[in-house]
C-alpha cells in the first residue's frame, strides 16, 4: 500500500480539490483527474467518502490553533506597561500585535521579530523614528523586553485602523480612479518626506501600506515599516521580488531610486489591479478610465538606470497635475504614452524600449519520440539545431535553449515535462518517420503555458542531408518566436552534415564518447575543410578527452583544433565559446574572459556567456565578480534556473551556506524536476547541520534518480550522526557508481577507519592516487592539494602532509573547503596548535560545521574552540 510521497501527493491533491467542489461535481471531477488510473481513482474516491462521513472530525485541535515562533502572546504584559491584545499580522520575519499601552492609555501596535530571526532591530531604524508625516506610520519608541529566549527588541507604533493595501486590492480589486489618485498623492508625498530626511524604505510594497476610509469617505494610506528591513542578507528582498528594482537583483544596495521603482509598482498595482510584469504595458491600457497621466506618473519609475528615475518629490508634482486630454484609442494611447516618455527623457528611452521587448524564451528541444541514450545522425540533427538556436538570442530577447540530451538527462520527454521539470516557456517536439529513402519530419513549437501550438512544420530529408533539418528547425524557431536570423559564417557543406551531426550528438550526450566523436569530426573535416564547425566540435571532444584522461597532450591537440577553427572564422560565436572553454580548462583565465566578453558583445542577452564568465571568476577566486556576473545572468532571465544553480554552487564553495541554500531553493522553484538542485540543497543543509532538511532534499533527489552525489551526501549525514556503518554503506554505493572520485574514496576511508576496518588504508591509498592524478593536470589548484595533504596524513607520511597543506593554504587562502581540510589534516596529525591557527581564518559557517565533525571531538574540548566559535557567533549575529 505504501507507494511513497509522490503517490500521497497525488491522492491528497485530488481529495483536497474534490472537497472544495460541490458534492454533486466531485465524482466526475475525480474520474476526469485520475486520468484512467483506476487505483488512484478508487483510493481518492474512498478518501473523499470518508472525509464527508467524518465531517471536521479532529480537524480543530483540542485547544486553539496556536502560532509558532511567537515572542509574545495575547494577555501577556510586556515591559510592565504594554498588554498584548492579539496578533494582527505577520511578515516573513516579524509579527505585529495590537496592544494597549497602560501608561498612556491608548491602543498601539507592537512589532517584533519572530523567534529565530534577529532579535535586535537594525540601527538605521533610529533615523526612521525622526520622520513625521500624516502618511507615514508614526513609530514611538524602541523597547527591550526580557523573554525566556533572551532580550528582544520591539517597536511601539501608532495603531492604524483598516487593512493593508494588498489585502484591499485582493478583496476589492483595483481602486477607483479617484481613490487611486488620492492615495497616489499621499504615498508620493510620504516617500518624498522620508527621502528628504535621508531615510530609505528598502521594502516598499502593498503589504506595507495600510488603508482606511475616514469619516468623510476619503481613503487614507499610511506607509509602515520604514527602515525596518535592514541589509542583513543579500536575499532579504527575494520574498517581494516584483517590487525589486533591477539593480537590486544585481546585488546593489537599496537607494532612494529603488524605493521609487517599488513605489511605481505599488501605484501600478493599485491603479490597474494587476502587477506590471516583466514588461509593463502602460497603466491606461489596463483600465480605460485611467488617463495618460498615470502613464506619465508611473512608467518613468521603471527606468532600468536608477539615475533616470524621477525623484519622489518629482512624483508629487506629477501626481498633482490635472489629467491631460485623453488619447483616443487604447492601443494607440499605450504606445504613444510610452513613446512620449521615451522621447522626453533620453536616459529612459533605452529602458522603456527594452521593456517593450517580448519576455525571455526558455526553449526545450525535446528528444525524438522513443529516443534512448543511443542515437546518431537523427538525434544529432536536434543537438545541432539546439546549438544553432542558442545563437538566435538577439538584442531584443533573452533565449535559453536546453538541448535534447540535457532534456533526456532530466527525464523530460514532453512539453508538459519541459514546463514542470525545467520551467521552460516553449518546447519543440519533433517526430521523424522513415519513408523509403527519406525521413519525414514533423515539428511543432508548443507554448508550454497555454499548451497551444505556436507553429508547425513538416519536411522531407534525405538521410545524408539531415543537417538541413537542423537549419530548418532553427529557422522555424527564429520565425515563430520573433528572434533574429542565425549568424553567418558557420555554414557546413551538406555532404559533411551526417557525420558532423553524429559527432555533435556524441559530445553532448555524455562526456565519455569523445573517441567516437573525434572520429566523426575527422571524417567531417575531410568532407568540409572550410567550415569552423567540425574544428570547434573536434576541439570540444578533445577537451573532454583531456578532462577524462588528464593527459596534457589532448589539451595541446585541442589547442591546435581551436587555432584551426579560428583561422577560418575567429569571430564565430561557436569558435569563441570553445576557445573560452579551452582557455579556462588550461588555466588561462584572462584569455577565457576575453573570449566570453566578445560573445557578450555580439549577443548582449546571452546568459550562457555571462554564466561562463562567472565560472571563470570563480576559478580565479574572485567571488564578488563571479556573483555579479551570475546576477546579471539572472537579471536577463529571472525565471531560468541554471544561473541560480551555479550561483548557489559558487556561494557554497565560499562557505556562504545560507545564500547557497537560498539560491538552490530558487533553482528548485524554477526547475522542480532537476536532481542536482536537490542534491545541492541537501549538501548545504547537511553542512549547516540541518540533517532533517538535508535528508529530505537528498531523498527527494534519490526518488528522481539515484546518483553518486546524493549517496555520498547521505553518507556524510550518517557520518555526522556517528552512524558509521550506514555511512560506509552509502559511501560504498557512491564509489560503486563513480570509482574515480577521490572524495568518495576519502569518505569511505574515514567511515571504515571509524569502524576499525582494514579497508580504510586501501581507500585512502586509492583516493591519494586519484587526487595526485588530478593535481598533475592542474598543479595550481589548492583544493586538490589539500586533499593530497589529508591522504598523506592518513597514510602516515607526516612531512608530506604538512608540506602539501601549507602549499594548499597559500594558493587558495579563501577556499573554505581548503581551510576545512587543513583543520582535519592537522587534527589527524595531532598538530592542534596549527589546527587552531587555520581555524582563525574560517567563516562562522565552517566553524559551525567543524563544531559538529565527529573527528574533531578532541579539538572541541580545548577552550580555544569555544572561544573561536563564540567570536564567530558574534560576527554571525552582526551580519
Amino acid at each position: 500500500m505504501e507507494q511513497g510521497a509522490e503517490h500521497d501527493q497525488r491522492v491528497m491533491n485530488l481529495v483536497a480539490a474534490a472537497m472544495r467542489l460541490p458534492e454533486d461535481e466531485r465524482s466526475a471531477f475525480l474520474e476526469r483527474e485520475s486520468r484512467g488510473d483506476a487505483e488512484l481513482l478508487a483510493e481518492a474516491r474512498d478518501s473523499v467518502e470518508w472525509e464527508v462521513r467524518m465531517g471536521g472530525f479532529l480537524r480543530e485541535p483540542l485547544v486553539t490553533m496556536p502560532e509558532m515562533d511567537r515572542v509574545f502572546h495575547a494577555g501577556q504584559m510586556v515591559a510592565g506597561r504594554f498588554e498584548i491584545i492579539r496578533e494582527v499580522g505577520e511578515g516573513g520575519m516579524g509579527v505585529v500585535y495590537e496592544a494597549f499601552d497602560r501608561k498612556r492609555n491608548q491602543r498601539i501596535c507592537i512589532k517584533t521579530a519572530k523567534l529565530g530571526f534577529r532579535r535586535a532591530l537594525p540601527p538605521e531604524l533610529e533615523g526612521a523614528l525622526r520622520v513625521r508625516h500624516p502618511n507615514i506610520c508614526m513609530v514611538n519608541e524602541i523597547h527591550t523586553a526580557q523573554t525566556p529566549g533572551g532580550e528582544v527588541d520591539f517597536l511601539t507604533m501608532e495603531f492604524l485602523e483598516g487593512e493593508t493595501l494588498s489585502r484591499h486590492l485582493a478583496s476589492h480589486g483595483r481602486l477607483s480612479s479617484e481613490d487611486a489618485l488620492t492615495v497616489a498623492r499621499q504615498l508620493c508625498a510620504a516617500l518624498a518626506e522620508a527621502h528628504r530626511s535621508g531615510i530609505v524604505h528598502r521594502d516598499l510594497k502593498t503589504g506595507n501600506i495600510m488603508v482606511s476610509r475616514g469619516a468623510g469617505g476619503g481613503l487614507r494610506a499610511v506607509i509602515t515599516d520604514f527602515g525596518l528591513s535592514g541589509e542583513n542578507s543579500e536575499f532579504a528582498g527575494f520574498g517581494t521580488a516584483r517590487y525589486m528594482a533591477p539593480e537590486l537583483w544585481r546585488g546593489e544596495k537599496a537607494t532612494k531610486a529603488s524605493d521609487v521603482y517599488a513605489l511605481g509598482v505599488v501605484l501600478y498595482e493599485m491603479a490597474t489591479g494587476v502587477g506590471p510584469g516583466t514588461i509593463p504595458a502602460a497603466p491606461s491600457s489596463h483600465a480605460p478610465g485611467l488617463g495618460a497621466q498615470w502613464d506619465y506618473l508611473v512608467m518613468p519609475c521603471f527606468a532600468g538606470d536608477p539615475a533616470a528615475r524621477p525623484e519622489a518629490a518629482d512624483l508629487v508634482v506629477r501626481a498633482g497635475r490635472k489629467p491631460r486630454s485623453r488619447v483616443p484609442a487604447i492601443a494607440a494611447a499605450v504606445f504613444a504614452g510610452m513613446a512620449a516618455i521615451a522621447a522626453a527623457i533620453p536616459a529612459v528611452r533605452h529602458a522603456v524600449m527594452e521593456r517593450l521587448n517580448p519576455p525571455s524564451v526558455r526553449l526545450v528541444v525535446l528528444p525524438l519520440a522513443g529516443a534512448t541514450e543511443r542515437g546518431g545522425t537523427r538525434e544529432g540533427a536536434l543537438v545541432e539545431a539546439a546549438e544553432r538556436m542558442r545563437r538566435l538570442g538577439s538584442a531584443r530577447r533573452t533565449v535559453a535553449v536546453i538541448g535534447p540530451s540535457d532534456a533526456l538527462g532530466h527525464g523530460v520527454r514532453s512539453a508538459e515535462d519541459a514546463g514542470r521539470v525545467l520551467g521552460a516557456t516553449h518546447a519543440l517536439a519533433t517526430t521523424l518517420v522513415r519513408q523509403e529513402d527519406e525521413w519525414k519530419a514533423r515539428s511543432v513549437i508548443v507554448d508550454v503555458k497555454t499548451k497551444e501550438t505556436v507553429r508547425e512544420f513538416t519536411g522531407k530529408y534525405a538521410s545524408l542531408h539531415l543537417d538541413d533539418l537542423a537549419g530548418a528547425l532553427t529557422g522555424l524557431v527564429s520565425a515563430a518566436l520573433h528572434l533574429d536570423a542565425p549568424s553567418r559564417g558557420e555554414e557546413l557543406n551538406p555532404a559533411a552534415g551526417a557525420s558532423y551531426l553524429a559527432g555533435m550528438f556524441l559530445i553532448r550526450r555524455d562526456r565519455r564518447s569523445y573517441d567516437d566523436a573525434i572520429q566523426m569530426f575527422e571524417l567531417t573535416e575531410r568532407l568540409d575543410g572550410r567550415s569552423p564547425l567540425p574544428k570547434a566540435g573536434m576541439a570540444e571532444a578533445l577537451i573532454q578527452k583531456y578532462q577524462a584522461l588528464k593527459d596534457r597532450k589532448w589539451l595541446d591537440s585541442a589547442q591546435r583544433s581551436v587555432e584551426a577553427a579560428q583561422s577560418v572564422n575567429p569571430d564565430s560565436i561557436r569558435v569563441l565559446l570553445v576557445a573560452g572553454m579551452l582557455n579556462q580548462v588550461a588555466g588561462r583565465y584572462e584569455a577565457a574572459l576575453e573570449n566570453y566578453r566578445r560573445v557578450q558583445e555580439r549577443e548582449p542577452r546571452n546568459t550562457e556567456a555571462l554564466r561562463r564568465t562567472a565560472a571563470v571568476y570563480d576559478a580565479m577566486d574572485m567571488p564578488d565578480k563571479a556573483v555579479s556576473a551570475y546576477r546579471k545572468a539572472i537579471q536577463l532571465d529571472p525565471d531560468f534556473y541554471a544561473a541560480y544553480s551555479e550561483l548557489g554552487v559558487s556561494y557554497y564553495y565560499r562557505g556562504k551556506y545560507l545564500e547557497a541554500a537560498q539560491a538552490f531553493r530558487e533553482t528548485i522553484q524554477r526547475a522542480p524536476g532537476t536532481v542536482q538542485s536537490y542534491i545541492n540543497l541537501g549538501a548545504v543543509m547537511s553542512d549547516m547541520g540541518r540533517d532533517a532538511e538535508a535528508e529530505k532534499a537528498l531523498m527527494a533527489s534519490l526518488r528522481i534518480k539515484e546518483t553518486h552525489g546524493a549517496l555520498n551526501s547521505m553518507g556524510a549525514i550518517r557520518y555526522y550522526q556517528e552512524r558509521y556503518a550506514e555511512a560506509a554503506e552509502f559511501y560504498q554505493n557512491a564509489v560503486g557508481m563513480d570509482g574515480r572520485n577521490f572524495i568518495y574514496q576519502l569518505n569511505l576511508g574515514d567511515a571504515w577507519r571509524r569502524l576499525g576496518k582494514a579497508g580504510a588504508h586501501d581507500a585512502y591509498q586509492r583516493g591519494m592516487e586519484l587526487a595526485l592524478e588530478e593535481l598533475k593536470q592542474n598543479p595550481k589548484r589548492g583544493y586538490t592539494r589539500a586533499f593530497v595533504g589529508y591522504f598523506a596524513a592518513r597514510l602516515g607520511d607526516r612531512s608530506r602532509a604538512k608540506d602539501e597543506i601549507e602549499q594548499a593554504l597559500q594558493s587558495a587562502p579563501a577556499d573554505v573547503k581548503v581551510i576545512r581540510r587543513a583543520v582535519l589534516t592537522y587534527q589527524a596529525l595531532g598538530e592542534i596548535e596549527q589546527a587552531f591557527d587555520v581555524m582563525g581564518n574560517a567563516t562562522p559557517e565552517v566553524l559551525g560545521e567543524l563544531g559538529r565533525h565527529p573527528d574533531l571531538a578532541e579539538l572541541r574540548r580545548d577552550a580555544r574552540f569555544a572561544q573561536l566559535t563564540g567570536k564567530a557567533g558574534i560576527q554571525n549575529g552582526a551580519r
Partner: protein, 202 residues
C-alpha cells in the same frame, strides 16, 4: 558557557537513533518543566482566554535550551517528544479539573457531538492512541502534534521529517482509524451511532 553536560541533546540524539530507553528518560527530564509551564498557563486561564500549546512548548524549549544547552537543530525532535508530553499534561489536567473549557471540536458529526462532551472525546482519543501507537507509532505522533499541540501540517511534517503530503495522508489515516474506532461498539456500547450518512451523496 555552561559546564553542565547537555543531557537533553544527548538523549534526543540517542532517541533519534532508536534508543527506546532514551524516550523514557527524556520524559523524566522534560515532564516536570513542561508540566510546570503548562500548569502556570492553566492557572491563569480566564473566560474566553485560549491556550496556546505550541507557543507553550516553544517557550518550554527556549527555557530548556537556555538552561541546558539544547541544540537548535534538535528542535524538530524535541517537538515530537513535547507533543507527547503535552498530550499527557492536557489529559492529566482535564481529568483533574473536569470543568476545564476545551474549545469546540467543530464539525464533529452531530451524532458524535450529541452523545459526548468534548472532554470525553479527548479522553477517548487519548485511550485509543495507546492502541494506535503500538501499531503505528508515527501516526500516533501525528495525532499528538495535530490534535493535542495544534501544529500546522507544515510544522508537523517538518518535525517528523516527512513530506507535506505524506504527513497529510498519515493524518487522514489516523483520523479515519480513530473515527472508526470511536464509532464502533467496542468503545462504549450503545452510546455511539454510526455517523449520519444522509449527506453523503457520492
Amino acid at each position: 558557557m555552561d559546564e553542565r553536560p547537555p543531557e537533553i541533546t544527548q538523549l534526543l540524539k540517542q532517541w533519534r537513533c532508536g534508543d527506546a530507553g532514551a524516550e523514557a528518560r527524556l520524559f523524566e527530564v522534560l515532564m516536570p518543566d513542561l508540566h510546570r509551564i503548562a500548569a502556570s498557563y492553566f492557572r491563569g486561564e480566564r473566560e474566553g482566554h485560549t491556550l496556546q500549546p505550541t507557543a507553550l512548548v516553544n517557550e518550554g524549549f527556549l527555557r530548556l535550551a537556555a538552561a541546558k544547552g539544547v541544540d537548535w537543530q534538535d528542535r524538530g525532535h524535541f517537538f515530537v517528544i513535547a507533543a507527547r508530553i503535552m498530550r499527557r499534561c492536557l489529559i492529566d489536567h482535564a481529568r483533574a479539573r473536569p470543568e476545564v473549557q476545551f474549545l469546540s471540536l467543530e464539525g464533529l458529526p452531530e451524532g458524535v457531538l450529541g452523545q459526548r462532551g468534548k472532554l470525553e472525546t479527548a479522553l477517548a482519543i487519548d485511550g485509543l492512541l495507546e492502541e494506535m501507537g503500538a501499531e503505528f507509532p508515527q501516526r500516533c505522533s501525528v495525532v499528538e502534534m495535530k490534535f493535542f499541540l495544534g501544529m500546522t501540517d507544515e510544522e508537523a511534517a517538518d518535525a517528523l521529517g516527512l513530506s507535506l503530503h505524506t504527513l497529510q495522508r498519515e493524518w487522514y489515516r489516523a483520523r479515519r482509524w480513530l473515527f472508526e474506532k470511536l464509532n464502533s461498539d467496542e468503545v462504549k456500547p450503545g452510546q455511539w451511532n454510526k455517523a449520519p450518512n444522509t449527506t453523503n451523496a457520492s
